[in-house]
């Protein structure tokens, strides 16, 4: 099995350090994180008071705190926002984005683990919670999502990255440029900051069901998130989109159903994309047209974690 990789320097890496870190983050995210034990990981949406998303993050628990891995360019806003709420708690919030490469590994990444292969299988064991491992020099290696066992997220100190990358290349790993990893992301139905994750989208719309706990208690935006679910007020949902070869579709294009706006294109790669579509139309096989009338778009049930 081959190994491909893409290294980002602008992905958010935020460190919450201190004895109250896990309890503190429990109050600002949709997932149950307080009960994580060192070595466990999960995914959580960091929400606003209105129940929309500041970001969707990978959460790594260790002995002294949490590391959050979020979307491109989101480190400063995540760190600033969380730091604002550290009143009365023993937590230090640090934006480590600039000094950390977030490397997406696709393929035979388990070879990198300093643990036996049978133990590596635990990394994909559960839909909500899984384990991660530290590697040399304080680096971290974690499955990107339990539903995508071929994908891992590797955090590497920027100063160490040239040597790490040389090693990857020596072993035959193929570097993926930004457009290629974006195409893979869209094909997998993985929502991303600035596209399907943002302060105008709630986590239900982005179909982050496995990143939401309805039993965990209070957190910022919890009342809205719970109400949306229990009162069935979710208006839109993430869908995969396909269109004919040679057709031009842009991010932000409005999708129409019999001339009524029912959705918006949020990501585009070649002849496929992702979009947020009103629940009434959000069914596989439904055809919509773009507002300019240049494309017919077919909906797919793309997010990878859904049955």
């Amino acid at each position: 099995m081959s190994l491909s990789y893409h290294a980002d320097l602008d992905r958010a890496v935020v460190r919450l350090e201190g004895p109250d870190a896990a309890t503190f983050f429990q109050g600002y995210s949709t997932q149950e994180t307080r009960s994580l034990v060192p070595g466990e990981a999960t995914r959580a949406a960091v929400t606003t008071r209105k129940g929309t998303m500041l970001d969707w993050v990978l959460v790594l628990r260790d002995e002294t705190g949490l590391t959050l891995v979020g979307g491109p360019g989101r480190g400063a806003i995540l760190a600033t926002t969380l730091d604002r709420y550290t009143l009365g708690v023993d937590v230090t919030v640090t934006d480590r984005s600039a000094g950390t490469r977030v490397v997406t590994l696709i393929g035979s990444w388990t070879d990198l683990l300093p643990v036996p292969a049978d133990e590596a299988s635990r990394l994909t064991a559960d839909a909500r919670r899984w384990s991660w491992r530290g590697t040399a020099d304080g680096e971290a290696l974690c499955a990107g999502h339990p539903a995508l066992p071929e994908v891992a997220i590797w955090l590497v100190d920027e100063a160490s990255w040239p040597a790490r990358e040389a090693n990857l290349v020596d072993r035959g790993a193929e570097p993926w440029a930004a457009d290629r990893i974006e195409g893979w992301r869209i094909g997998a139905g993985f929502p991303a900051s600035g596209h399907e994750i943002g302060e105008d989208v709630n986590p239900w719309e982005a179909r982050l069901e496995t990143s939401i706990s309805l039993e965990k208690g209070c957190y910022l935006g919890q009342e809205v998130v719970a109400r949306l679910f229990h009162y069935r007020k979710i208006q839109r949902q993430l869908m995969g989109l396909t269109w004919s070869a040679g057709t031009h579709v842009e991010i932000g294009a409005t999708l129409l159903d019999e001339e009524r706006p029912v959705g918006v294109v949020t990501s585009v790669s070649g002849e496929r994309g992702l979009g947020l579509v009103k629940v009434a139309q959000a069914r596989p096989g439904v055809q919509l047209v773009t507002a300019a009338g240049e494309a017919t778009v077919t909906l797919e049930d793309r997010p990878f974690w859904l049955p």
Partner: protein
């Protein structure tokens, strides 16, 4: 609702007579009539910040000490930024018994009444 002003330091928050009486009663029951009531804002809750009431045996260098009819109240400097002007009341209705917080700095308060945003 009338409020009682502190007897010494300038007031940053106010406590109603009902709140004062109830806190004094709690301290008596705990056998700590000379203890302080600590009023604070902490991170957490549905709206980002939560009110916190606690019993403290002593004040710290960061605390502002106020006295309300003999009840000593502590407010730390960071909390005072979010709670200045707040009135702490106590409601003894059968249905809604408990402390209530009327905070002019709160832009939004969650349903439980103990969490707020600014």
């Amino acid at each position: 609702m009338s409020t009682t002003t502190p007897s010494s330091a300038p007031t940053l928050i106010n406590l109603t007579p009902k709140a004062i009486a109830h806190v004094k009663s709690l301290l008596e029951r705990q056998g700590k009539p000379e203890a302080y009531l600590r009023v604070a804002a902490v991170g957490g809750g549905c709206s980002g910040f939560s009110y916190k009431l606690d019993v403290a045996d002593e004040a710290t260098a960061q605390d502002r000490v106020m006295t309300f009819d003999g009840l000593k109240v502590l407010l730390d400097m960071k909390s005072s930024l979010l709670l200045s002007g707040m009135e702490l009341d106590y409601n003894d209705d059968l249905m809604n018994a408990g402390f209530t917080f009327k905070n002019p700095n709160a832009a939004h308060t969650c349903g439980c009444g103990t969490s707020f945003s600014v």
